[in-house]
Symmetry: C3
Subunit: 221 residues, 3 copies
Amino acid sequence: MPQLHRDGPVWIIDFGADENRYSPDFLDQVEVFLDELVADREPAALVTTATGKFFSNGLDLAWVQAHPEQFLTYVHRVERLLARLLTLPVPTVAAINGHAFGAGALVALCHDYRLMRDDRGFFCLPEVDIRIPFSLGMSALVQSKLTPRSAVDAMTTGRRYGGADALAAGVVDAVHSEDELLPAAIALATSLAGKDRMTLGTIKERMFAHVTAPLLQGAAG
Amino acid sequence: MPQLHRDGPVWIIDFGADENRYSPDFLDQVEVFLDELVADREPAALVTTATGKFFSNGLDLAWVQAHPEQFLTYVHRVERLLARLLTLPVPTVAAINGHAFGAGALVALCHDYRLMRDDRGFFCLPEVDIRIPFSLGMSALVQSKLTPRSAVDAMTTGRRYGGADALAAGVVDAVHSEDELLPAAIALATSLAGKDRMTLGTIKERMFAHVTAPLLQGAAG
Amino acid sequence: MPQLHRDGPVWIIDFGADENRYSPDFLDQVEVFLDELVADREPAALVTTATGKFFSNGLDLAWVQAHPEQFLTYVHRVERLLARLLTLPVPTVAAINGHAFGAGALVALCHDYRLMRDDRGFFCLPEVDIRIPFSLGMSALVQSKLTPRSAVDAMTTGRRYGGADALAAGVVDAVHSEDELLPAAIALATSLAGKDRMTLGTIKERMFAHVTAPLLQGAAG
């Protein structure tokens, strides 16, 4: 389950040491942390990361299989989280310590910056191979963060990007060794902390209004 | 006239050995091939190419001059073809063997990937110089595939891109010698063949809904 | 105050030797020059530049403070100028001789091409730090010209780009020494002069319709 740490102005959410799939309990916990961060008035920035082999493997498909009638409601909840992260009124940095698959990769894309471990782990949108098309909002999200070339690659081929490939494709902004990943993310977040929250939030909301509208309207697929 | 070949899962449409302009007969033939490809249920991918000096010189202006009253209907037919290629439910690769001008360049842009011969032939959108502004749909198409910088270059200056320039500008994804162009395109298409058609089609439709909408609504210019 | 020079087909607007803020008188003068350029029928291209340390420091905040009740009207006037420059029916090149801040940077972004002095001066959108969120139109403008990565950098961090950084980020297209900046801009503009005005104007209007619509509708912030 996610845990919250603080390092000066930087709020660090560690998604956990497992596959870190987005179960309802997981989402509850992350939302509580974000509520706390948003209610706070001090200079702040957010780093998300995890421990071990996975950043996040995305949707909790086991839970979905056990609750098929709640599938659309569940996906829409994840979409609302994506919209919230995308427009969070503080700077955000994802420290991708391991595999970021599916909705886990989408969460990474919501951040202002993405740093990735250089030796292990893949960023991957496997939707085309697992036969779950992106919703309109998820599609708009990926396209709002990647170049046209990288969006087609990532979305239509299910390509797995290691650190070097992700950097070359502009999927992430820098790569670091395992030891240096989190310190680099914290240093970047610290350097950005302190922006006026209302201003930054409004800037992001306007930049990504064409993404949050379909995300908040609900899963099309 | 276009011809269809098969190489394993790869459907290869060869536009011909002439200027390969989009006469109504040409469009009829391409549409028949696409109908056949779409009706098929086997793993597949599409490669388009041509033989000789031209990939395609685009609109059949001689036919248009002979049928001026059908101009808008004709352009709209081409726009519907662009929309269909852009969202075709199989992976698509253009092997640009020679000049791709005007609507010929637009067809190339509809593909998921573009490979280009490295020593001869130009990719060019001459619309600004021949005084035919892009329709809203064609404009959206170019902008959906190129970076902002390359879109302004290509659309407002009529710049002719040779292979190396096209690669540097992100207009194509790779360049090859004349002999290696088609084999490289077939190899890439083979590696991508087999995606679930409904999933891939839906992914592309959602990615490019803002392009197909004006294309299908009809030529604005 | 802005001055107009002519060099063959190239119209050169020099914004002045001061901070070149957009006072109402400044805007009057620029609009008169643009009216003249648009009314002319000869082949033409536009270069904007300035003399000394500043390209433009943007909004005239002293005037705004003296006329707070006219703030929205004033900002909307600047937005209309941005829309006009963005879709001007001749090729446009900004020769960024010095600091381009805030609305000064937005004006630079409206041009088809941006050249920048390589040794001094910054391109900067300080809005996030001075707590003035971009209007919807201004936001769309920046995003229409920069890559997703550079747009987030420029808009959410207030980063100051020197020439080399601006080139690397795609914010400008080339850098030159102080002496070679204006000649290079004039040479580029000369090479592009002579496009059919109606065609080029229509092409730009359609490319940027999603930007001019919110700019002309009025400042949201």
